[in-house]
Assembly symmetry: C2
Homo-oligomer: 467 residues x 2
């Protein structure tokens, strides 16, 4: 049986190419439970693979119907082969985080085949410190990045003693009897991706998408709203990309960011953006490629509007996009933080005057950046209105476990696209902020240097804030 694919999902499938795979990913780090034996990782792997009652989302694959003018439909994979999707991998010696990131870079470079359901999960052993890693990937046509992170978190519990938790792709829900209140809240928050998708699809169609999108963009061109920047400098990020990726990740305590925010009257999210600003500045300067004017980041933000069901940066549900002047041309970290803060505030204010249809259209930009460029070109805009995308996804605030394994880190892997070769996505978890940097391996050389620059910038911001 085949069901039509909604327009938003279809857009992600059609935007995909060898150079531009459209899947998001997540890297999670776990500590073994006490008393775990040497075969523990294999046991976890086998346990995950045994969960063969798979939810419908993870059983369907796209197919192009030749009879119906190439219409895209979802079909159930009747020969579903869980061994293809759930895999066991290992790191070479010496098993540092470096080897882990290298493996994730490779795995994230590989496009998912349409002939099978569009996801993979890799249980990874071999970290020298004994931790277990899990890399999961899922096509953006199935879920957006936020939903994907939540889906991977949906298997977790705050109870270290629970041992009945299913795999994220399992059809069976966690047993109700022992579900904690935190669990219940989270499962409300993590709306099934289908619901998000179809809600967006329906609303977008009702609002006359892409008509609304074009109208919003046209307003932006005419300077009627400051939510859209249309004057981003050309940087090395804004080039054609190749199909291979480099992934870098690290986390820092949220408390350090909070302290800077309190001392300077800014938000944690402002500090995250200022860290990115300083890091991008140092990175580009090293390559002698720092533009004279500010690099512009597109940042999805929450608006607390009830009409949208898309999760966002601030934990609200409605999403708009603000074009943030990162202030990369400014030498002083404090000046950059101010630039970010001001740009963010005025952008949000502009967004709050927009109609719901316009906000939806903005959301569509955030969710399908690759559709923007042709639309902009229709409107006579040949240069990208922004240089990179920075998202910040709120995660669980308490320590989480999966069948006794303690989750100690979670990092998102996102989608570089043509003309937008670097993506920074942050995810908070249990007092830490995990940064996931995903770039085109060729277009963004020495991507991992950004981690050092992020670390330096956090220290510089603390100093600037008098901490």
């Amino acid at each position: 049986m085949a069901t039509p694919i909604d327009p938003a999902s279809a857009a992600f499938l059609l935007a995909e190419s060898r150079q531009q795979p459209m899947h998001v990913g997540g890297l999670q780090l776990f500590e073994r439970p006490e008393g775990a034996g040497p075969g523990y990782v294999r046991e976890v792997f086998e346990q995950m693979r045994r969960d063969d009652q798979v939810a419908p989302l993870f059983l369907k694959h796209p197919e192009r119907r030749l009879k119906a003018a190439g219409q895209l439909v979802w079909k159930r994979d009747d020969l579903f082969d869980i061994e293809h999707h759930v895999r066991h991998s290992a790191l070479p010696e010496p098993g540092r985080v470096r080897e882990l990131l290298e493996l994730c870079s490779r795995l994230h470079s590989q496009r998912l085949a349409w002939e099978r359901p569009l996801w993979e999960a890799h249980v990874i052993e071999g970290l020298a410190d004994g931790r277990l890693a899990m890399y999961t990937k899922i096509h953006h046509a199935l879920v957006d990045g936020v939903s994907a992170m939540r889906l991977m978190q949906s298997m977790l519990s705050t109870d270290p003693d629970r041992r009945d938790l299913p795999a994220p792709w399992a059809a069976r829900p966690p047993t109700k009897a022992v579900q904690t209140r935190a669990d219940a809240e989270r499962s409300l928050a993590q709306l099934p991706a289908q619901v998000v998708r179809s809600a967006l699809g329906i609303t977008a169609e009702a609002a006359g998408m892409p008509g609304a999108l074009v109208r919003t963009l046209t307003r932006g061109v005419k300077g009627e709203t400051s939510a859209l920047s249309l004057r981003a400098p050309r940087t090395l990020f804004n080039q054609t990309i190749t199909g291979s990726r480099r992934f870098a990740a690290q986390d820092w305590p949220v408390d350090r960011m909070r302290a800077i925010g309190q001392a300077t009257g800014t938000t944690i999210n402002d500090v995250v953006l200022a860290m990115c600003s300083g890091a991008v500045r140092s990175y580009l300067a090293e390559l002698d490629a720092l533009p004279d004017t500010s690099v512009v980041a597109m940042v999805p933000v929450g608006l607390n509007a009830k009409q949208s069901q898309v999760a966002s940066t601030d934990g609200g549900n409605a999403v708009g996009c603000v074009m943030v002047q990162l202030g990369t041309h400014l030498a002083d970290p404090a000046d950059r933080l101010r630039s970010v803060h001001d740009s963010m505030r005025s952008g949000k204010e502009a967004l709050s005057t927009m109609t719901p249809a316009q906000i939806i259209a903005m959301s569509a930009i955030g969710m399908a950046p690759s559709v923007i460029t042709p639309l902009l070109r229709l409107n006579g805009v040949v240069r990208p209105p922004f240089n990179l995308i920075i998202s910040n996804v709120p995660g669980p605030r308490s320590t989480q476990y999966w069948n006794g394994m303690k989750l100690v880190g979670t990092y998102p892997l996102s989608i570089p696209i043509n003309g937008m070769a670097l993506n920074i996505t942050c995810a908070s978890y249990d007092g830490t902020m995990g940064f996931g940097l995903t770039g085109c391996r060729r277009t963004v050389p020495h991507l991992q240097r950004l981690l050092t620059h992020l670390d330096d910038e956090l220290a510089a911001l603390e100093k600037a804030a008098g901490l």
Copy 2:
């Protein structure tokens, strides 16, 4: 600078799709030298990656010229990134051959991106017995399977004490001063792939390819030559394939095959084919899918004709293809061996009466099986003339070393194509015959069972031969 791609190479590039990647591979197993420390595999990896004087064959990538009607050209990769091509991988616990084959299956499923030179080499650690594995892949547009195996062997020496051997992709040749006679002989035999290619390309064009190919096929249709079987039964191997692969490999002593050959008046190659016959029979019978008539294998054979430079089964240089009736419908192993032997002999006799142009055309079939089907269809043949391809590639007869590591096994990975979901390629080395079975993961279920059946069949043939 761009150079045009010759027609034979272009055919492999154009035949490629997500479902049908057109690269060949090799798996090699090495023993560490005595006194190798715990970081030995990393040292080997680093040493290989340091060899950045790369030969032109390994620096060029294909590009489609939009200005010149989509003509395919080779371009030098000016941003060549050896870290992308030479990789370090590891096996999860318990590090059996099973985990190694699983990793090779995954690696072989991944298509090479045209945006970079079409090869990869993976240094693999984590085998429980301490051996080091190396998986290499290279596009069929660069070399054929035989040349690929030889290329990988070209880095080897019979001298366990040599430490100056380059990586197979290195531009610098082995130092002449210490080159042994065996080395010299081998480097003559392993003609550079470019030479093979262009020789074939030139000859084929001179002979009016694809005219000659069509003529040969037409003769086959009219029953004028027994070199072409056109009555193969339909089997489960002859279906549309998916993009994922399963690889299985094992080796057996050549002496066991030689003894059977001597006792029955057949060749080692006949015994190899009879092993495949019995294994395919058992495999298909288990799946209740054994056809009533014999399964037909296409087998490339050598003819000692001086005009071709393509290596072959028997170590000769000219290659033709014989359609071998494997006798899978016969219950007795001795009958199957006789069927193979007779079919092979009459096929070779038929081939020897062919003109050089026809033999070249046959070679082209062997080298580009995916181009056959459309040509056959032009000739009114809708069913495949054979069910699977079985090749047997002669390798070095003496023990080989690479910078002190002893080569202890070598297994080829080949190309399943649409309608031909299983490929068996054998390679002899130092008294053993390595079988490499490459199949579509979905179309050929439980591929690894064929290994057990091969083992059983060898024993059955020994019994039938009175050994």
